[in-house]
Each structure stands twice: as C-alpha cells, then as structure tokens.
Amino acid sequence: MIDLAFKNILACKTRSLLCILAVMVSVYLNGSTATMNNWMYTTMTSELARYMGKIYVQQGGSSYPPFDSSIAETTAQEILAHNDLNVAQSTPLIFVRLARAMMPFMPAQAMVIGVAPGKESALWGRAEPASGVGAFASDERGDVAILGDKAAGYFSARVGDDIPINNTPVRVIGILQKSSMDSVNIAAVVPLASAQRIFAKEGTVSAVLVGAQDVNNVPTIADTLKRDYPLLQVVTQDDMLKDAQAVLKMPMLYMSVMSLTAFVVAFAVIMSTMVMAVFERTREIGTLRAIGADARTILVTVFAEIVILTLVGGIPGAILTLPMATVMNTILPSPAQFAQIVLLAVVAGALGGLYPAWRAARVNPLEALRYE
C-alpha cells in the first residue's frame, strides 16, 4: 500500500510540501545545532590540548584570551626565571583583539599575539608555513608578522605585503597552514617588542605562558606561582577546561533547547498534518475498511505516508547542514551521524504519526456510508 501513500501525498501537494518544508527546516536546525555544539566542543578541546603541561599566568579576573590582562614585564621575567620551567616552551605574550566575534560566545575574528621570537612553538607546537617562514629569527624586533590561515584571509594578505595593525604597516613574512587550533588560525603573530611598540604597551605583557619540564610538576609549579603572585591568576589546563566548560554550558544548553524545539516542531507539524489528512480521508479509509482492508493495512498506509514525508524532508535538511559544517570548520558529519539526524526526523514523524495512524485504524467501515 506504499503506492497509495505516495498517491495520497501527491494528491494534497500544498499540504505535503508544507509538511516536507517544516521537516526540512527542523532537521536543518537539528543538524546545525549539533554542528555548532560539535564545533564548540572540538574547538575547545583542540585549544586546550596545547596547554598540556603548561600554565597561563595573567591578571586576576581576566578571561581567555586575556585581552584585558596587563602585568608588568619585570614580573613576567621573574616568573620565567622560576626553576623547573621548560624555557623553550615559556614566553611572555601580548594579546590584542582586532575584530570582534560575529556572534556571541564565538571567538574573535582576528587578533594579534605578541610572542618572544624563537618561542612561537610554545604557542602552536609544530606549524608548517604555507608560504614564507614559520618562525621569527631569535633576534627579530621589527614590525613583521606571521599570519594564521584565517588571519591571512581577514587581511587579504600574502607574504611580502604590508598589513595595517593599529595604523602601523607590518610586513607579512609567513603564512601558516591551517591549524586545528582556531586561536592560531585567526592570529597575526608579531615579535613581542613589536606588539608592545604598536599598541603602546611597553613594559607590560598580557600573560606569561609557562611550560613545565615535567608534566607531572605542573600542579606544584602552579601552587608555587599562586603563592608567590597572589594577585595574579594562575591557570592550568584543568582550570581552563573547567572555565571553558562553564562558559560553553549556556550556549550548548541553548543549542540543545533549539534542537529539542526543532524536534517538537517536526512532531507537531507531522501530527497536525496527518490528523488533518486522516480526518479529510475518513470516507476513503472507511471505504477501504468496507471492502476488506484490515486495521493493520490502514496503519501501515498512514505510517508509510509519514515515513515518506519525513525522509523527503529530512534528507535534504540533513544535506543542508553540510555547508554549515564546512563554514564552521568542523569535521563533516560521518554517515552514521548523518543517518542519526535523518533518523531523528523519522522518529519525530513516527511519534507525531502515532495518534493519526491509530485514529485511522479505528475508522469504522460505516463511515464510508455515513459521509454520503
């Protein structure tokens, strides 16, 4: 009786189209919110992965990235003189935001990071340049920059171009390959002295990135720094994880509520559409019952109609989430995740279709005559 379900769908084109559209939007919202959540989570975890064995010291009350933090450079030097530090992985840093995020809870579009020349790897580990150089000369003090992938796009710059940073022309000497860490992708990294000069921050830094020689010593070093610099904020990977989770809790909850709302909308639309369809077709269903269709056949026909509607709306809806996943720079949904999104729509449809299908199956054959 699947062909009958198809014919019923085609017979009421406008209603079917509206239902399909609603399912499509609902699946798109579901998929998009899942992508956003996925993006937020992967961004957070990949960002935090590089702080393994590292400690951030910044002004008390600052958030990350510490754009608002300012600590004396002399204090930074004292901190870097501590024992047990991995000197190559420790550096004072300056953070300045260039362009705000496009949406709340999202990172800045572009920022400047000032780093001690030769210590860039503390920031991004091993990063290969797509063009130019991937690190500064150890004595570099000039107004030069290595751009992350997105920052290069933001400035529309190539190696050898001058980009304006706070009205100062800065020469691009390298562009990095796309990194898994978004804070590197959006950064224009300049030598620390240059950043201090450009933003008139001589004698201050935003934060000190401290690398431990032994990862197991991180808690001890963090405790020592907290004791010695009570006015500063000493942040370990664990602390950042907790902070990030706290910050992401609300937007992720919001996304989940949106996802649930989309699910409920799909459920309600399918239920109302099918209740209406069953009501309008009471006589036809009664006729089928009168000529020998059992309740199960009617149930299957109505369910077939629901499954067709949800699949026809759900699959394009799920496909529509792919550009979103590309824009959000996340891993594309796997076939299993893709199927899960569509399956969710079918489940919403099936739940929404329970009542109308049950109602259709209970239609009395006498209805075929009663509607005369």
């Binding site: 020998g292 075929a368 005559l369």
Partner: protein
C-alpha cells in the same frame, strides 16, 4: 441448501440522547443463493441498517445474522474484515471510489487486499472493466468519469473477488434515470450469471427488477412483492 444470509429476531437500537432509536425490531430474513432481493421503504425505515448488518459492517443489538450458517455476531473485527474482503461485495450510492486511483487501480485494490497475485490481478481487472463496459477507460481517474461510469467501476470492484453476496445501497440514487436504468440492467446481467444480490432502494421501478421485494416498515420486514422474470 444453506441460505447465504439468515437473520433471526434482529434488533438494532441506535443510542441517541440517552434513549434509543429502534431502527430494526425483530427482523427475520432469509436470502437464498442466486436470489435478487430489493429492500424498499421510506427514509429512516431501517433498510440501510439491515444492509450494514448483513454486510458485516455493523453488529446487532439483539438477534443474529448467519452468513452461510456462520454467526456474524460471534466473529472478531478481523474475521468480519476478511468476510467483507472475500465473500461480500459492496456498491455504494456515492460510488466511494478512491480519488487518487485510476479505474483499473480502484478495482485492483480489492484484489490486492485479498492477496491475489499481480499477474492474476491484471487479467481479472481488465476482464471486469470490459464486462462493465469500461475496457477503454481503465486509466481514467474517477473525476474524469461520469456518474454512471463511476458506478460501473464500483460494481466491477464489488465483483472482483467473486463474492457470494453483492450488497448495493441505493446504487442509482445519485444517477439520472437513463444511467440508473443502465446500472440496474448491469446488476440484472450479473444476477443472471448467478450472483446473489441484495439491493436497497426507494425507487419502485428499480425494486421491481428484483425477484423478491421486501418492505421495511417500522423496523420490520414484510414481503411486498414477488416477481417472475
């Protein structure tokens, strides 16, 4: 010979506003195989109610309906459905064709519900539509057919599973007199081929085509006429 239909003291009371409306009051009826019976009576006399009961579409308040000796009131909903599918054919006043299906598919659906194979269905539907004079209009939707043609499709559908009993509820009620006569002629033709028919009508001319005419009045059935054809 076992009658096709036998009713004993059949009562049907429709509940209404806390009281009951007695549609049938102890009807006794016997329909032999090959008979053509017309049930006549004024509106609300209970003739359609009687047709629904002997068609296994409704259950009596009291009494029993026997279909070839089998008590319909003792059957489950599923068993009654099977009976309607295989043993009883219905022709409705308003044709009741499925609007999304072609004439061919409307007849075929009765066979699909009965589980007839695809190859057999095609041959049988084509034969039935030719028999009712619609061999050239098999791919037309109901809205593309005239009232008479729709009723012919409905008759073909009712006959699809070779039912032992054909029930027709005012089959000419929605047709003009000429078309109505054509439909009655078709039913007579079917009857002559051995089909048992019970027909409800308030049209005396149509009723006189039947071998026995039963008058339903005050919820009871009385023989009104017996004709020889």
């Amino acid at each position: 010979m076992t009658p096709i239909i036998e009713t004993h003291d059949l009562w049907k009371i429709h509940p209404m506003d806390g009281t009951g409306v007695e549609a049938l009051r102890g009807v006794n009826l016997r329909v032999e195989p090959g008979e053509f019976i017309a049930l006549v009576g004024p509106s609300g006399s209970g003739k359609s109610t009687l047709l629904h009961l002997i068609g296994a579409m409704d259950t009596p308040t009291r009494g029993e309906v026997l279909f070839e000796g089998k008590n319909l009131t003792a059957l489950s909903d599923g068993e009654r459905t099977q009976l309607r599918c295989h043993e009883i054919g219905f022709v409705f006043q308003t044709f009741n064709l499925l609007p999304t299906l072609t004439a061919f598919q409307n007849v075929e659906i009765a066979l699909r519900l009965a589980g007839v194979s695809s190859r057999e269905r095609t041959a049988r539907v084509q034969g039935l539509l030719t028999q009712v004079g619609l061999g050239a209009r098999t791919n037309h939707l109901p809205k593309q057919l005239s009232g008479g043609e729709r009723q012919r499709v409905a008759i073909a559908r009712a006959l699809a599973n070779h039912p032992k009993l054909l029930l027709a509820d005012e089959p000419t009620g929605n047709l003009d007199s000429v078309t109505g006569e054509e439909i009655v002629a078709l039913l007579e033709e079917v009857h002559c081929a051995g089909q048992t028919i019970v027909l409800v009508t308030h049209n005396a001319t149509v009723a006189m085509k039947a071998r026995r005419v039963l008058q339903i009045k005050d919820g009871q059935a009385r023989l009104a006429a017996e004709t020889i054809h």
